[in-house]
Symmetry: C4
Subunit: 282 residues, 4 copies
Amino acid sequence: MTLGETIKMGTFLGHALPGSFFYFMGLWWSTKYILKYACKKYKRSCYFNSKSSFYRIEILEGIIIISMALIGITAEQFVPGGPHLTLYDYKEGHWKRLTSWHHCTMYFFFGLVGVTNILSQIYRSLPGSLPKLMLSNAFFVEAFIFHNHTHGQDMLEVFVHQLLSMVILVTGILIFIDFMRSNIILALLHTSFLLLQGSWFWQIGFVLYPLNGGPAWESTDHNNMMFLTICFCWHYAASLTVIGLNFALVTWLVKSKLRRSCPTEVGLLTKAEREQESEEEL
Amino acid sequence: MTLGETIKMGTFLGHALPGSFFYFMGLWWSTKYILKYACKKYKRSCYFNSKSSFYRIEILEGIIIISMALIGITAEQFVPGGPHLTLYDYKEGHWKRLTSWHHCTMYFFFGLVGVTNILSQIYRSLPGSLPKLMLSNAFFVEAFIFHNHTHGQDMLEVFVHQLLSMVILVTGILIFIDFMRSNIILALLHTSFLLLQGSWFWQIGFVLYPLNGGPAWESTDHNNMMFLTICFCWHYAASLTVIGLNFALVTWLVKSKLRRSCPTEVGLLTKAEREQESEEEL
Amino acid sequence: MTLGETIKMGTFLGHALPGSFFYFMGLWWSTKYILKYACKKYKRSCYFNSKSSFYRIEILEGIIIISMALIGITAEQFVPGGPHLTLYDYKEGHWKRLTSWHHCTMYFFFGLVGVTNILSQIYRSLPGSLPKLMLSNAFFVEAFIFHNHTHGQDMLEVFVHQLLSMVILVTGILIFIDFMRSNIILALLHTSFLLLQGSWFWQIGFVLYPLNGGPAWESTDHNNMMFLTICFCWHYAASLTVIGLNFALVTWLVKSKLRRSCPTEVGLLTKAEREQESEEEL
Amino acid sequence: MTLGETIKMGTFLGHALPGSFFYFMGLWWSTKYILKYACKKYKRSCYFNSKSSFYRIEILEGIIIISMALIGITAEQFVPGGPHLTLYDYKEGHWKRLTSWHHCTMYFFFGLVGVTNILSQIYRSLPGSLPKLMLSNAFFVEAFIFHNHTHGQDMLEVFVHQLLSMVILVTGILIFIDFMRSNIILALLHTSFLLLQGSWFWQIGFVLYPLNGGPAWESTDHNNMMFLTICFCWHYAASLTVIGLNFALVTWLVKSKLRRSCPTEVGLLTKAEREQESEEEL
C-alpha cells in the first residue's frame, strides 16, 4: 500500500471505530433498559434488578467506557499519519491533523462519562442522576465538534457530517429530557439514535473513503445529497427494527425465565395499570 | 398528452395524494379527540368510550394507515416515469427519480406507525404511549426529508417545501409534547396542523405543476414568496375554522344523543371543574 | 404633500398603529395579571377577583381586541396607496401591496383571539385555556409573517424586521409555556415583551420612514445594525421598567384599598408561603 | 506605547474584565449551590443555611453584582479611545465605538439583576424566583448582543464571538429551566458554563489582541477555526474539572465541620433517599 492508501485506510478506520463503539453501546443500553422495564413490569425482583448486581454492572460499564475512550484516543494519535501528541508543526507552520484531535477530544468527554459512572457508584454524596447528565453533555460536545469538523471542506463531506451532528444533537436532547423525567420509551428512543449514529459513522467511512479503492463520491452532485438523505432514514428504520427485535427478545427471555422459576406468579398488569406504568420512572 | 405532461400530472398527483391522506387523518383524529373529550366532559360512559369499541377502532385505524402507506408507495413507484423499484440507473450513471424515493420513505415511516398501533393493542407488554411517539417520530422524519427535498432547486420550489417542512416539524413537536403530557387543546392543535399540511400539499401541486397547462409560477419573483407567506396563513386560518366547526358539531351530537337517551342526567360541570378538566389527560 | 410623502406617511402610520395597539394591550394585561396576583396574595376576595366581574372584563377585552383588528384591517386596506381589497393587479400583472395584506392577515389572527375570548366565556363546553393558546398562536403566525415580510429588501429593513420577528416569537413561546404552566412572573415577562414589540414598531417607523422628511437610514452601514442592536436592548430595559413601576403602583393600590376597607385583616404571607405561592397557578 | 497599542491594550482588557467577573461569579455561585446541597443532604441546619445569614448573603451578592456592573460601564466608557458617554460623533458623522456601548448595555442588564436581588429580599410582595428569571434574562440579552457584535467583521472574529454567544445562550436556557424546576445538577451545570464563558472571554482577548505585540491570528485560515473548536471544548473540560474539585472540597469541608461539632449525628442518607433527594428543589 502507498502512503496515501494507508492514510485513507486510517481515516476509514477512524470512522469505523467510533461507529462500532456507539453501535455496541446502543445495543447494550437498549438491552439494559428493556431488562429493567420487563423486570419491573412482571413485578418480580429478578436477579438483574437487585442492588448489588446493578452496582457491579454500573462499575463495569464505567470501566468499558473508559477503555473505549483510551483505545480511541490512542488509535487516533498513533495511526500512520496521526499527530503523535503534537498539536502544532512549528517547522512547517501549520496545525497537525486537527481532525484527529477533534476525535480525541470527543473520546475524552466520553471517558469523563465513564469516570462519573464509577465515582457516583462509589461516593454516595454525588447526586444520583449525574452520569445521565454527563452523558447528555458528552453528546452535546460531540455534536458541537462535528458541527465544526468540516470548515472549508466539500459540500458532500459537510453534508454527511451535518447529518451526523444532527443525530448526535437529538441524542443529547433526548438524554437530557430523560434526565429530567425518566421514561422507558424515551430511553429506548435515544438508544435507537445511538445505533443510527453508529451505522452512520460506517456510512460516512464508505462514502468518503471507499474501501474498494475507488474515489470518494462526487462531492458537487446534488443527487448524492438527495440519496444520502433517504439513506439516512433507512439507517434509522434499521435501528428502530433492531430495538424492536431486542425488545421482543429480552421481554420473551424474562417472561420464560420467570415462568420456569415460579410459573404461577407471572401475571400481566391490567391495561390501566400498564399505561400508568409507562409514565413512571424507569 | 405528451410524456412531459404525463410526468407533470404525475408529480401533481404525487403532492395531491399525500395531501388528501393527511387532510383525511387530520379530520378523523380531530373527531376522535373531540369525541373522547365530549364523552368525558358529560361524565357519561357513552359507547365510543368503552374499552372494546376503542380497541376495535385503534386496530382499524392501524389498518387504514398501513393501507394508505402501501397505496402511496405503489403509486410513487409505478406512476409513469417513476423509478419502478430501481434506485440507480447504472447504464446512464445517475440516480433514478430520488424525489419519488423520498416520498416512499416518508410513507414507509407512516406505515410503521400503523404497525405499532396494531401491535400495541395486541401485545400488552408494549408501553401504552408508544404509538404516539412513533407518530411524532414519523413527522420528524418527514420534516427531515422535505427539508432535504430540494437540493439544487429554484428559490420558489425551495420556499414552498421549507414551509411544508416547518409545518411538519411543528406537528412533530406538538405530538411529542402531547406524548409527554396529554391535553385536549394540544391534540386539537396538532390536528389543525395536519389539515394545514394536507391543504398545503395541494397548494404546492397547484403552484409548481399548474393543472391548466400553464407554466409554474415565476420562481425568482420575491413577491411570489410574499404572497405564498400569507396564503400559508390563510390555509392555517381555514384549518382552524374546520377544527372549530368539527368541535361544535361533535359536541352538539354527543349532547343531543345523550339528551335523548337519558335526558335528566345530562349536566355541565361547573366552571372550576371545567378548567381543571382541560388540564387533565385526554 | 406629494403622493410619495403621503405613502411614506401611510407606511409610518402602518407601523405606529400596531405599535400603539400592542403597547396598550401589554400595559393592560400586565395590570390585569398584577391585580390578580396582588388580590390573591393578600388573601382577600377583592371585587376584581369575583367571577362575575371577570366574566364582564373578559367579554369587554374580546370586544376591544376585535375592534382593534377591524380598525387595523380597514386602515391597511383603505389608506392612500393601499390595496383596496384587491389582491392582484391583472392589468399591470403584479401583486398589489402585499405588505398591507401581510398586516391584514396579522390583524385577522388577533381578531380570532378576541372571538375565542368571547366564545369561551359564553360556551362552557370549550376548554378554559383555549384563549391563551389562541393568543400564543396569533403571535407565532405574526412572527412567521414578519420573518417573511422582507423578501428582496435592503439589509437594514431586513434587520429591523428580524428583530421584530424574534421578539414576537419569544412572546409566543412565553405564552405557550404560560399556557402549559401558569406563573405570574412568566405572565409579566410576556407582557414586557409586548411592550417591547409595541415600542419597536414605532422605532421601525422612525428608522425606515423618518417623519422629519429626511431619507431612511443608510441601509448598508454595518454600524447602523450595531446601534440598532443596543437600541433594541434599551427599548427592552424601558419596558421592564414600565412593568416594574406598574407592579409597584398596582400592589400599592390594592394594599391601600384593602387597608382602608378592613385594616386589621391585611397581612403578608410568610416567606415560605410566598415562595410556594409564586409557583402556583395565577 | 503608541496610541494603537494603547487601544489594543484597552480592547484586550475589555475582554479580560468581563471574563474575570464571570469566572468569579461562576466560582461563587457553584460554591453557594454546593453548600446549600451539602447542608441539606447531611440533614443539619448548619449556619450557612439559616434564614438570616442567607438574607445577608443575598443582599451582599446584589451589591457586588451592582459594583461589578458599575466598574465595567465606567471602564468601557473612559478607557483611552472609549466613547466618553457620547453616542454619535456629529462632526465626523459616524457612531462612536459602538462595541463599547454594547459592553455597557450588557453590564447594565447585570446591574438590573443585582437590583432585583436586593429588592426581592427587602420587599416581600415581589415573587421569590424573580432574581433567577432576571439572571436568565440578562444572559439572553447578552447572547443577543454578542450575536450582533460582529457585523461586517472577519471570519475569525465572528467565529470566536459566535462561540461566546452560544455558551451565553445555553447559560440563559439552563437558568430558565432551573427557574421552572430547581435541581442541584442543573444549577452546577450552569455555573460550569459561567466558568467557560469567563475563560473564553480571556481566550478571545489572546486570539484577537495578542499581548506579546504580535498580530492577531490569521483570520481566513480554516484550521484556526478547527483548532478553536477543540480549544473551546478543552476550556469546557477545565471548567467541569473546577466545578468537580469545588464539589469535593465544599462537601469535605461541610462533612468535617459537622463531624467536629457533633460527631455522632452525621450520617448519610440511604441510596434510595439520595436519588429522590437529587430531584428535589435546591
